[in-house]
Protein backbone atom coordinates (compact mmCIF):
# COMPACT_ATOMS: atom_id res chain seq x y z
CA UNK A 1 0.00 0.00 0.00
CA UNK A 2 1.26 3.43 -0.86
CA UNK A 3 0.86 6.15 1.74
CA UNK A 4 -1.41 8.83 0.21
CA UNK A 5 0.24 11.43 2.45
CA UNK A 6 3.81 10.55 1.51
CA UNK A 7 4.46 13.91 -0.10
CA UNK A 8 2.70 17.22 -0.55
CA UNK A 9 1.96 16.31 -4.16
CA UNK A 10 0.44 12.96 -3.16
CA UNK A 11 -1.63 14.64 -0.44
CA UNK A 12 -2.89 17.25 -2.94
CA UNK A 13 -3.90 14.45 -5.33
CA UNK A 14 -5.67 12.72 -2.43
CA UNK A 15 -7.74 15.87 -1.82
CA UNK A 16 -9.11 15.59 -5.36
CA UNK A 17 -9.73 11.87 -5.05
CA UNK A 18 -11.65 12.55 -1.82
CA UNK A 19 -13.77 15.20 -3.58
CA UNK A 20 -14.53 12.79 -6.43
CA UNK A 21 -15.33 9.97 -3.99
CA UNK A 22 -17.83 12.01 -1.97
CA UNK A 23 -19.29 13.75 -5.03
CA UNK A 24 -20.31 10.35 -6.45
CA UNK A 25 -21.85 9.28 -3.13
CA UNK A 26 -23.76 12.56 -2.70
CA UNK A 27 -25.11 12.45 -6.26
CA UNK A 28 -26.23 8.85 -5.73
CA UNK A 29 -27.84 9.69 -2.38
CA UNK A 30 -29.68 12.71 -3.83
CA UNK A 31 -31.26 10.48 -6.50
CA UNK A 32 -32.15 7.72 -4.05
CA UNK A 33 -30.86 6.86 -0.57
CA UNK A 34 -30.23 3.21 -1.45
CA UNK A 35 -28.45 4.21 -4.65
CA UNK A 36 -26.21 6.38 -2.47
CA UNK A 37 -25.49 3.36 -0.25
CA UNK A 38 -24.72 1.21 -3.31
CA UNK A 39 -22.41 3.88 -4.74
CA UNK A 40 -20.70 4.13 -1.34
CA UNK A 41 -20.07 0.35 -1.23
CA UNK A 42 -18.79 0.14 -4.81
CA UNK A 43 -16.62 3.27 -4.69
CA UNK A 44 -15.20 2.28 -1.29
CA UNK A 45 -14.30 -1.19 -2.62
CA UNK A 46 -12.59 0.36 -5.65
CA UNK A 47 -10.77 2.89 -3.44
CA UNK A 48 -9.54 0.17 -1.06
CA UNK A 49 -8.36 -1.97 -3.97
CA UNK A 50 -6.55 1.03 -5.44
CA UNK A 51 -4.89 1.87 -2.12
CA UNK A 52 -3.90 -1.70 -1.22
CA UNK A 53 -2.92 -2.99 -4.66
CA UNK A 54 -0.71 -0.08 -5.66
CA UNK A 55 2.99 -0.35 -5.04
CA UNK A 56 5.53 2.41 -5.16
CA UNK A 57 7.35 1.69 -8.42
CA UNK A 58 9.51 4.79 -8.03
CA UNK A 59 11.40 3.47 -5.04
CA UNK A 60 15.08 4.12 -5.73
CA UNK A 61 17.71 1.43 -5.20
CA UNK A 62 19.84 1.37 -2.07
CA UNK A 63 23.41 2.03 -3.09
CA UNK A 64 26.28 0.42 -1.28
CA UNK A 65 29.71 1.74 -0.41
CA UNK A 66 32.78 -0.29 -1.31
CA UNK A 67 33.48 -2.82 1.41
CA UNK A 68 35.43 -1.42 4.37
CA UNK A 69 37.73 -4.42 4.51
CA UNK A 70 41.20 -5.51 3.37
CA UNK A 71 41.28 -5.64 -0.45
CA UNK A 72 42.04 -9.35 -0.51
CA UNK A 73 39.05 -10.20 1.71
CA UNK A 74 35.79 -11.16 0.03
CA UNK A 75 32.61 -10.29 1.98
CA UNK A 76 29.38 -12.10 1.32
CA UNK A 77 25.95 -11.37 2.76
CA UNK A 78 23.84 -14.53 2.80
CA UNK A 79 20.08 -14.30 3.26
CA UNK A 80 18.21 -17.54 3.59
CA UNK A 81 15.21 -18.94 5.37
CA UNK A 82 15.01 -22.68 6.01
CA UNK A 83 17.60 -23.35 3.31
CA UNK A 84 20.45 -21.72 5.20
CA UNK A 85 22.12 -25.03 6.06
CA UNK A 86 22.03 -26.43 2.51
CA UNK A 87 25.20 -28.03 1.12
CA UNK A 88 24.63 -26.27 -2.20
CA UNK A 89 24.82 -22.90 -0.49
CA UNK A 90 28.16 -23.77 1.10
CA UNK A 91 29.45 -24.86 -2.32
CA UNK A 92 28.45 -21.56 -3.92
CA UNK A 93 30.08 -19.55 -1.12
CA UNK A 94 33.35 -21.47 -1.58
CA UNK A 95 33.16 -21.08 -5.34
CA UNK A 96 32.59 -17.32 -5.10
CA UNK A 97 35.42 -16.93 -2.58
CA UNK A 98 37.77 -18.30 -5.25
CA UNK A 99 40.52 -19.10 -2.76
CA UNK A 100 40.48 -15.63 -1.17
CA UNK A 101 39.87 -15.12 2.55
CA UNK A 102 36.10 -14.92 2.84
CA UNK A 103 33.91 -13.31 5.47
CA UNK A 104 30.26 -14.35 5.54
CA UNK A 105 27.40 -12.59 7.27
CA UNK A 106 24.28 -14.71 7.50
CA UNK A 107 20.83 -13.21 7.96
CA UNK A 108 17.98 -15.49 8.95
CA UNK A 109 14.68 -13.62 8.64
CA UNK A 110 12.30 -14.36 11.50
CA UNK A 111 9.58 -15.81 9.30
CA UNK A 112 6.15 -15.41 10.78
CA UNK A 113 2.52 -15.72 9.78
CA UNK A 114 0.79 -12.42 8.87
CA UNK A 115 -1.60 -12.77 11.82
CA UNK A 116 1.22 -13.32 14.33
CA UNK A 117 3.16 -10.46 12.76
CA UNK A 118 0.29 -8.02 13.21
CA UNK A 119 -0.24 -9.02 16.84
CA UNK A 120 3.52 -8.84 17.51
CA UNK A 121 3.70 -12.52 18.46
CA UNK A 122 7.27 -12.96 17.21
CA UNK A 123 8.91 -14.99 19.98
CA UNK A 124 8.39 -18.33 18.24
CA UNK A 125 9.57 -17.01 14.87
CA UNK A 126 12.71 -15.50 16.40
CA UNK A 127 13.52 -18.68 18.34
CA UNK A 128 13.20 -20.74 15.18
CA UNK A 129 15.35 -18.26 13.23
CA UNK A 130 17.96 -18.28 16.01
CA UNK A 131 18.09 -22.10 15.89
CA UNK A 132 18.58 -22.03 12.09
CA UNK A 133 21.21 -19.34 12.40
CA UNK A 134 23.16 -21.21 15.10
CA UNK A 135 23.03 -24.40 13.07
CA UNK A 136 24.20 -22.72 9.88
CA UNK A 137 26.99 -20.75 11.60
CA UNK A 138 28.23 -23.96 13.19
CA UNK A 139 28.21 -25.66 9.79
CA UNK A 140 30.00 -22.79 8.04
CA UNK A 141 32.65 -22.47 10.74
CA UNK A 142 33.19 -26.23 10.60
CA UNK A 143 33.73 -25.82 6.85
CA UNK A 144 36.46 -23.26 7.58
CA UNK A 145 34.50 -20.11 6.80
CA UNK A 146 34.70 -16.93 8.87
CA UNK A 147 30.98 -16.55 9.54
CA UNK A 148 28.83 -14.29 11.69
CA UNK A 149 25.13 -13.66 11.59
CA UNK A 150 21.95 -12.22 13.00
CA UNK A 151 18.21 -12.70 12.97
CA UNK A 152 16.56 -10.42 10.44
CA UNK A 153 13.19 -8.83 9.86
CA UNK A 154 10.46 -11.17 8.61
CA UNK A 155 10.46 -9.24 5.32
CA UNK A 156 13.64 -10.45 3.55
CA UNK A 157 14.10 -7.15 1.67
CA UNK A 158 13.96 -5.23 4.94
CA UNK A 159 16.30 -7.80 6.54
CA UNK A 160 18.87 -7.19 3.77
CA UNK A 161 18.59 -3.42 4.15
CA UNK A 162 19.06 -3.70 7.91
CA UNK A 163 22.12 -5.92 7.47
CA UNK A 164 23.66 -3.45 4.97
CA UNK A 165 23.85 -0.85 7.71
CA UNK A 166 26.33 -2.90 9.72
CA UNK A 167 27.98 -5.20 7.17
CA UNK A 168 29.22 -3.90 3.82
CA UNK A 169 29.37 -6.89 1.49
CA UNK A 170 30.94 -7.33 -1.95
CA UNK A 171 28.03 -9.49 -3.01
CA UNK A 172 24.69 -10.84 -1.93
CA UNK A 173 23.57 -14.46 -1.99
CA UNK A 174 19.89 -15.19 -1.67
CA UNK A 175 18.98 -18.78 -0.99
CA UNK A 176 15.46 -20.11 -1.56
CA UNK A 177 13.55 -23.35 -1.93
CA UNK A 178 12.89 -24.52 -5.52
CA UNK A 179 10.05 -22.90 -7.47
CA UNK A 180 6.68 -24.22 -6.36
CA UNK A 181 7.80 -24.58 -2.75
CA UNK A 182 9.22 -21.11 -2.16
CA UNK A 183 7.04 -18.27 -0.85
CA UNK A 184 9.90 -15.87 -1.56
CA UNK A 185 9.94 -16.82 -5.25
CA UNK A 186 6.16 -16.45 -5.41
CA UNK A 187 6.46 -12.98 -3.92
CA UNK A 188 9.24 -12.00 -6.34
CA UNK A 189 11.77 -11.39 -3.57
CA UNK A 190 14.76 -12.09 -5.84
CA UNK A 191 13.62 -9.59 -8.48
CA UNK A 192 12.83 -6.98 -5.82
CA UNK A 193 16.28 -7.45 -4.24
CA UNK A 194 17.95 -7.03 -7.66
CA UNK A 195 16.06 -3.76 -8.21
CA UNK A 196 16.59 -2.41 -4.73
CA UNK A 197 20.24 -3.19 -3.94
CA UNK A 198 23.20 -2.07 -5.98
CA UNK A 199 25.13 -5.31 -5.39
CA UNK A 200 25.93 -8.43 -7.41
CA UNK A 201 23.23 -10.90 -6.43
CA UNK A 202 23.37 -14.68 -6.78
CA UNK A 203 20.21 -16.68 -6.38
CA UNK A 204 20.87 -20.17 -5.02
CA UNK A 205 18.14 -22.77 -5.11
CA UNK A 206 18.51 -25.31 -2.31
CA UNK A 207 16.47 -28.48 -2.47
CA UNK A 208 16.59 -29.72 1.12
CA UNK A 209 14.64 -32.88 0.22
CA UNK A 210 17.30 -33.81 -2.35
CA UNK A 211 20.05 -32.98 0.19
CA UNK A 212 18.49 -35.38 2.73
CA UNK A 213 18.28 -38.16 0.11
Amino acid sequence: MKNPFRSEQDAFRFVWLTIGYFALIVIGALINTWLGVAVFVVVTAVALWWLLARTDAREPPVRQTPAASPPEEHRILVVANETVGGAELLGVIREHAGGRPVRVFVVCPALNSPLKHWVSDEDGARSAAQARLDQSLTGMRAAGLDAEGEIGDGDPIQAIEDALRTFQPDELILSTHPAGRSHWLERGVVEKARERFDLPLTHVIVDLDADRR
Binding site: F5, A11, T18, V62, T65
Partner: protein
Protein backbone atom coordinates in the same frame (compact mmCIF):
# COMPACT_ATOMS: atom_id res chain seq x y z
CA UNK B 1 18.67 15.75 10.02
CA UNK B 2 19.00 13.47 7.03
CA UNK B 3 16.18 13.81 4.54
CA UNK B 4 14.76 11.19 2.24
CA UNK B 5 16.57 12.66 -0.75
CA UNK B 6 19.86 13.04 1.07
CA UNK B 7 19.70 9.41 2.16
CA UNK B 8 19.80 8.46 -1.50
CA UNK B 9 22.33 11.01 -2.70
CA UNK B 10 25.20 9.78 -0.57
CA UNK B 11 26.76 6.49 -1.53
CA UNK B 12 26.04 3.85 1.05
CA UNK B 13 23.22 2.64 3.19
CA UNK B 14 21.25 5.11 5.31
CA UNK B 15 22.49 5.77 8.85
CA UNK B 16 21.53 3.26 11.50
CA UNK B 17 17.95 3.70 12.75
CA UNK B 18 17.02 5.69 9.63
CA UNK B 19 14.90 4.11 6.91
CA UNK B 20 15.96 4.82 3.36
CA UNK B 21 12.33 4.52 2.26
CA UNK B 22 10.82 7.38 4.23
CA UNK B 23 12.38 10.33 6.06
CA UNK B 24 11.84 10.57 9.84
CA UNK B 25 9.90 13.83 9.46
CA UNK B 26 7.55 12.39 6.84
CA UNK B 27 7.08 9.24 8.93
CA UNK B 28 6.31 11.41 11.96
CA UNK B 29 3.70 13.34 10.00
CA UNK B 30 2.21 10.09 8.72
CA UNK B 31 1.90 8.68 12.26
CA UNK B 32 0.44 11.97 13.43
CA UNK B 33 -2.16 11.89 10.67
CA UNK B 34 -2.95 8.25 11.53
CA UNK B 35 -3.63 9.29 15.13
CA UNK B 36 -5.75 12.19 13.86
CA UNK B 37 -7.83 9.82 11.76
CA UNK B 38 -8.52 7.80 14.92
CA UNK B 39 -9.48 10.97 16.79
CA UNK B 40 -11.89 12.08 14.06
CA UNK B 41 -13.08 8.48 13.80
CA UNK B 42 -14.20 8.54 17.43
CA UNK B 43 -16.15 11.77 16.87
CA UNK B 44 -17.77 10.34 13.73
CA UNK B 45 -18.71 7.20 15.65
CA UNK B 46 -20.56 9.31 18.22
CA UNK B 47 -22.22 11.34 15.43
CA UNK B 48 -23.45 8.28 13.52
CA UNK B 49 -24.54 6.52 16.71
CA UNK B 50 -26.60 9.56 17.64
CA UNK B 51 -27.98 9.81 14.12
CA UNK B 52 -28.99 6.14 13.91
CA UNK B 53 -30.52 6.11 17.41
CA UNK B 54 -32.41 9.40 17.08
CA UNK B 55 -33.49 8.99 13.50
CA UNK B 56 -35.98 6.35 14.59
CA UNK B 57 -37.59 8.62 17.19
CA UNK B 58 -39.15 11.24 14.93
CA UNK B 59 -37.99 10.21 11.45
CA UNK B 60 -36.14 13.49 10.85
CA UNK B 61 -32.48 14.30 10.62
CA UNK B 62 -31.49 16.79 11.78
CA UNK B 63 -34.18 16.83 14.50
CA UNK B 64 -37.12 19.15 13.93
CA UNK B 65 -36.25 22.77 14.61
CA UNK B 66 -32.61 22.48 13.64
CA UNK B 67 -31.26 23.83 10.36
CA UNK B 68 -27.85 23.04 8.92
CA UNK B 69 -26.43 25.96 6.90
CA UNK B 70 -25.30 23.77 3.98
CA UNK B 71 -24.96 26.67 1.51
CA UNK B 72 -22.64 28.78 3.66
CA UNK B 73 -20.67 25.65 4.57
CA UNK B 74 -20.50 24.82 0.84
CA UNK B 75 -18.96 28.21 0.12
CA UNK B 76 -16.56 27.57 3.00
CA UNK B 77 -15.71 24.21 1.43
CA UNK B 78 -14.83 25.95 -1.84
CA UNK B 79 -12.62 28.35 0.10
CA UNK B 80 -10.76 25.51 1.80
CA UNK B 81 -10.36 23.52 -1.44
CA UNK B 82 -8.99 26.67 -3.10
CA UNK B 83 -6.50 26.98 -0.24
CA UNK B 84 -5.24 23.49 -1.10
CA UNK B 85 -4.61 24.79 -4.62
CA UNK B 86 -2.62 27.76 -3.36
CA UNK B 87 -0.69 25.51 -0.94
CA UNK B 88 0.22 23.22 -3.82
CA UNK B 89 1.22 26.23 -5.88
CA UNK B 90 3.52 27.38 -3.05
CA UNK B 91 5.15 23.95 -2.81
CA UNK B 92 5.56 23.58 -6.58
CA UNK B 93 7.00 27.10 -6.79
CA UNK B 94 9.77 26.52 -4.27
CA UNK B 95 10.68 23.23 -5.93
CA UNK B 96 11.23 25.23 -9.12
CA UNK B 97 13.15 27.94 -7.29
CA UNK B 98 10.33 30.49 -7.57
CA UNK B 99 10.42 32.17 -4.15
CA UNK B 100 7.88 34.83 -5.13
CA UNK B 101 5.43 32.05 -5.98
CA UNK B 102 6.12 30.38 -2.63
CA UNK B 103 5.44 33.60 -0.73
CA UNK B 104 2.33 34.47 -2.73
CA UNK B 105 1.01 30.91 -2.38
CA UNK B 106 1.52 30.87 1.38
CA UNK B 107 0.00 34.34 1.90
CA UNK B 108 -3.09 33.33 -0.10
CA UNK B 109 -3.35 30.03 1.77
CA UNK B 110 -3.21 31.80 5.15
CA UNK B 111 -5.82 34.36 4.01
CA UNK B 112 -8.14 31.64 2.71
CA UNK B 113 -7.70 29.63 5.92
CA UNK B 114 -8.49 32.71 8.01
CA UNK B 115 -11.58 33.38 5.88
CA UNK B 116 -12.73 29.79 6.44
CA UNK B 117 -12.27 30.09 10.20
CA UNK B 118 -14.00 33.49 10.46
CA UNK B 119 -16.91 32.25 8.35
CA UNK B 120 -17.28 29.27 10.66
CA UNK B 121 -17.30 31.53 13.75
CA UNK B 122 -19.97 33.76 12.16
CA UNK B 123 -21.95 30.64 11.20
CA UNK B 124 -21.85 29.44 14.82
CA UNK B 125 -23.31 32.74 16.00
CA UNK B 126 -26.18 32.53 13.50
CA UNK B 127 -27.07 28.87 13.99
CA UNK B 128 -29.68 29.52 16.65
CA UNK B 129 -28.68 26.56 18.80
CA UNK B 130 -25.86 25.77 21.17
CA UNK B 131 -23.89 22.76 22.35
CA UNK B 132 -26.32 21.94 25.16
CA UNK B 133 -29.39 21.83 22.84
CA UNK B 134 -29.81 18.06 22.17
CA UNK B 135 -27.20 15.49 21.27
CA UNK B 136 -27.37 16.55 17.60
CA UNK B 137 -26.16 20.02 18.53
CA UNK B 138 -23.41 18.56 20.72
CA UNK B 139 -22.12 16.25 17.96
CA UNK B 140 -22.47 19.02 15.34
CA UNK B 141 -20.36 21.42 17.37
CA UNK B 142 -18.02 18.60 18.39
CA UNK B 143 -17.16 17.58 14.83
CA UNK B 144 -17.06 21.01 13.23
CA UNK B 145 -15.27 22.47 16.27
CA UNK B 146 -12.68 19.70 16.25
CA UNK B 147 -12.02 20.44 12.59
CA UNK B 148 -11.92 24.19 13.30
CA UNK B 149 -9.25 23.56 15.94
CA UNK B 150 -7.22 21.71 13.31
CA UNK B 151 -7.57 24.63 10.90
CA UNK B 152 -6.27 26.91 13.67
CA UNK B 153 -3.25 24.63 14.19
CA UNK B 154 -2.75 24.52 10.41
CA UNK B 155 -2.88 28.30 10.21
CA UNK B 156 -0.24 28.53 12.94
CA UNK B 157 2.02 26.17 10.97
CA UNK B 158 1.34 28.10 7.76
CA UNK B 159 2.10 31.42 9.44
CA UNK B 160 5.45 30.10 10.67
CA UNK B 161 6.13 28.79 7.16
CA UNK B 162 5.18 32.16 5.67
CA UNK B 163 7.52 34.06 8.01
CA UNK B 164 10.32 31.63 7.18
CA UNK B 165 9.56 32.00 3.46
CA UNK B 166 9.85 35.80 3.70
CA UNK B 167 13.15 35.36 5.54
CA UNK B 168 14.46 33.21 2.69
CA UNK B 169 14.75 29.98 4.66
CA UNK B 170 13.54 27.75 1.82
CA UNK B 171 15.24 26.78 -1.43
CA UNK B 172 14.66 24.17 -4.16
CA UNK B 173 17.04 21.86 -2.24
CA UNK B 174 15.76 22.60 1.29
CA UNK B 175 12.00 22.98 1.58
CA UNK B 176 11.04 20.15 3.90
CA UNK B 177 9.14 22.56 6.15
CA UNK B 178 6.86 23.53 3.27
CA UNK B 179 6.37 19.89 2.29
CA UNK B 180 5.40 18.73 5.79
CA UNK B 181 3.14 21.73 6.45
CA UNK B 182 1.52 21.20 3.05
CA UNK B 183 0.73 17.57 3.87
CA UNK B 184 -0.96 18.65 7.10
CA UNK B 185 -2.97 21.36 5.33
CA UNK B 186 -4.22 18.91 2.68
CA UNK B 187 -5.15 16.47 5.44
CA UNK B 188 -7.20 19.21 7.13
CA UNK B 189 -8.88 19.82 3.76
CA UNK B 190 -9.67 16.11 3.30
CA UNK B 191 -11.18 15.92 6.80
CA UNK B 192 -13.36 18.95 6.12
CA UNK B 193 -14.75 17.33 2.97
CA UNK B 194 -15.67 14.28 5.06
CA UNK B 195 -17.22 16.47 7.78
CA UNK B 196 -19.11 18.64 5.27
CA UNK B 197 -20.59 15.72 3.37
CA UNK B 198 -21.61 13.71 6.44
CA UNK B 199 -22.76 16.54 8.72
CA UNK B 200 -24.21 19.07 6.27
CA UNK B 201 -25.28 17.16 3.16
CA UNK B 202 -26.28 13.58 3.95
Amino acid sequence: MTTFDEAHEHHGPPPIHYSSRVSPATLGMFLFIASEIMLFGSFFTVYFFDRVVNHGVNGHWPPTGFHRPAFVAGINTLILVTSSFTMHWADTSIKKGNRAGLRAGLVLTVLLGLTFLLTQVIEYHRLGFNTSDTSFAATFFGLTGLHGAHVLVGLTILTVMMVRAFRGHFSPEHHHGVEIGGIYWHFVDVMWIVVYVTVYLL
